[in-house]
Symmetry: none
Subunit: 219 residues, 4 copies
DNA sequence: TATGAATGAGGTTTCATTCAT
DNA sequence: CATGAATGAAACCTCATTCAT
């Protein structure tokens, strides 16, 4: 005799919390927290309204669980890419970009930034938490790579804090873009192309070139 | 000779719709459309609940009026910058960046992108409208400058469609950032610094430099 | 020189209360008391909302004034017909019917019964008042004529109280009918025809005929 | 063997919609549609405000359901009486009167005419619908009986269309009367007496008697 | 006297949450 | 565990009434 009879029905039951989370994520992203009704989530998850409360104590708790679940894997992914490596700073930026591409390639994970941005006002703790756990760590990682590149002379002298943000911006924007304008966009650019162009442009811009900037600058 | 006798009380009356719009914008941006209560808007505008309905037929109508009002000035600003000029492509990009800086320097106008992003799900027409009226026109303007620079050899050969997005991303991101993380940010970067660094990095990256990319690899 | 300059503008001013009453009556009859908005009445009367309150202290007061105004003339009319006369009972009933025809011929006056019926629930005093002032007096008048006819042998022996109601019913019904179904009726019967047929039928039915009822049965 | 286990609590649950309808009817009749608050209906039905919306989508929908429910049985009753029979026209009118007495004997059913009359203004479709489904059919039935009586010589020559209305008027009026003046009436006449007197008077009046009308007519 | 912008109490409706089955 | 009928707090919106002009 086996230890348990998980013949399809049981398996479903154990996957419930996960299915609920996914249904909730989709609805929260599509409609925003306030406009999402628990019944919508329940229907999408294929369970009854009351069942949601067996797993999550309230709508807020469900929302936080959604963010946590996404953060968990996102952070893990970032941490994985954080490991030191013998590559050049440029190649390490390329590797980070690859990792980010993987993340925003998964629509479910790409939705997180928008979720945070759209609901930070209603969840005071959310912005702070996301900022500390994701933004700081992400910017820190990139900043360190940039600083290293500057130190070795691979990059020209720039402020790593500032340029870390510049490096991240198109990725974040791309993620938000997808979940907002994808449906109405006429001429769409594949995220992969965008990311590739971004990295090359970025690295060229950092190259310790001759003078300061090409033409007649100042600002 | 005065045109009319506006004795302080009258002036207030005529400014009502505008005051309501500003109060509504602030609240919608802070809490999102659904979580905003009409009473909050009224209190912030210093009027009674019912007064809102003298000017706007419903919460939705108020929201749309807010977006329209912001769009109006934003579009006008963009159109102004659209004028052809004898400057180099690089300097024209710098001018556009200046214009954008002016826009996101006004907190009220900087709030529009977040408003659209956060509520596109609940207002199907909103994303489409904003995309057509602002995104397309903005990207088109920048794309044309880029294409011109490529044609004259001022820039290396890049895809204007793709790089227009890259040019805009940090600006948009900055605007969204401000209204989302400003309160919790530890080490903030002045938007002006960010924008300046961005433009310089961008122009360096576009310079028709020697080889392809500085160091070894490829993606 | 005249005593006052009432050149059309002044005359209008003095007629205001009456115009307001008429506008109110029309609206109350059409929509019911609760569904009538003061602004509707004002617009129909051609005055501003606030002006109504110069003449009537509240919506309820306006409603009561409407009823009073209608009652006044209605009662007066009835009283006029109440005068004793040398006619036969039958001819006096015919005269009363004439009077009623005059009343329900004026759409404004015909509307009163419906107004009372539809709003008696919301105005506890209204039913009582109308019953005392109109119903009782009307039924009393007719009852006395019937009793007189019975006493003189002009009519067979019937209960004047009961038959007074039977005499009034088609008139009331006709008045209510007009303001309720007139717009949707396919085959309408002119009120005058209806009334004439009613009186003749009624008088024939009262004639001290041979047996009890024409044909065989029982009750 | 029982079909199901309805242990007193369950029975209550299934009767909910019906209980709500009855509570709503009573309140609508007493106060009119506009003056009725959903909370009143809920309290009278012994449920919470929100519960009403489980069964009826809106206040209007509830009102229409009330009318429908009443109409259903009323129409059925009328149809039942519509069956051809071998009786004389007079006896068939008596039978119809009996049927009507049954209807207005049930206070709930007697309330329908008043409901329609009082709210036709706010529900444009209501008057039309009621007219077609009840008034036309009722008048048609009676008109056919009258026409038959005229054809067989049982009645004198009258216009069936006109006299059908005269036949119905006291019944309708009685129904409306009950729900409007019952509480304030001093000398009330039992509806049954009224109806009986009406039918006898009506039949006498239709008898193909000697001349036209007894005494000195003409209008 | 007349106006109509402003007010806010009160009504309809929604929906997160509970609990008996 | 799972359900979904029931609840009632809270939000949107209307409109009778007031009052500065």
């Amino acid at each position: 005799m086996e230890d348990a009879p998980p013949p399809a029905a049981r398996r479903r039951k154990e996957a419930r919390p996960q299915e609920v989370l996914e249904a909730a994520l989709d609805t929260f992203v599509g409609r925003g927290f306030a406009a999402t009704r628990m019944e919508d989530v329940a229907r999408r998850a294929g369970v009854a309204k009351g069942t949601l409360y067996l797993y999550y104590a309230s709508k807020e708790a469900l929302f936080e669980a959604v963010v946590q679940a996404m953060l968990g894997t996102t952070i893990a992914r970032l941490e994985g890419d954080l490991g030191e490596s013998p590559l050049s700073a440029g190649d390490r930026l390329r590797a980070v970009a690859q990792g980010m591409a993987g993340i925003i390639g998964d629509p479910r994970r790409a939705a997180l930034p928008k979720l945070v941005i759209a609901n930070a006002g209603s969840f005071p703790g959310l912005a702070r938490f996301y900022y500390r756990e994701v933004v700081c760590r992400g910017l820190g990682l990139i900043g360190r790579i940039l600083a290293h590149g500057v130190a070795t002379g691979e990059f020209r002298a720039i402020d790593p804090t500032v340029h870390a943000r510049l490096f991240v911006a198109p990725v974040l924007m791309g993620a938000v873009w997808q979940t907002t304008f994808a449906a109405v966009e006429e001429t769409s650019v594949p995220p992969a192309d965008l990311l590739h162009a971004h990295v090359e442009l970025f690295l060229r811009g950092l190259a310790p070139g001759a003078a300061d900037a090409p033409a007649g600058e100042r600002s």
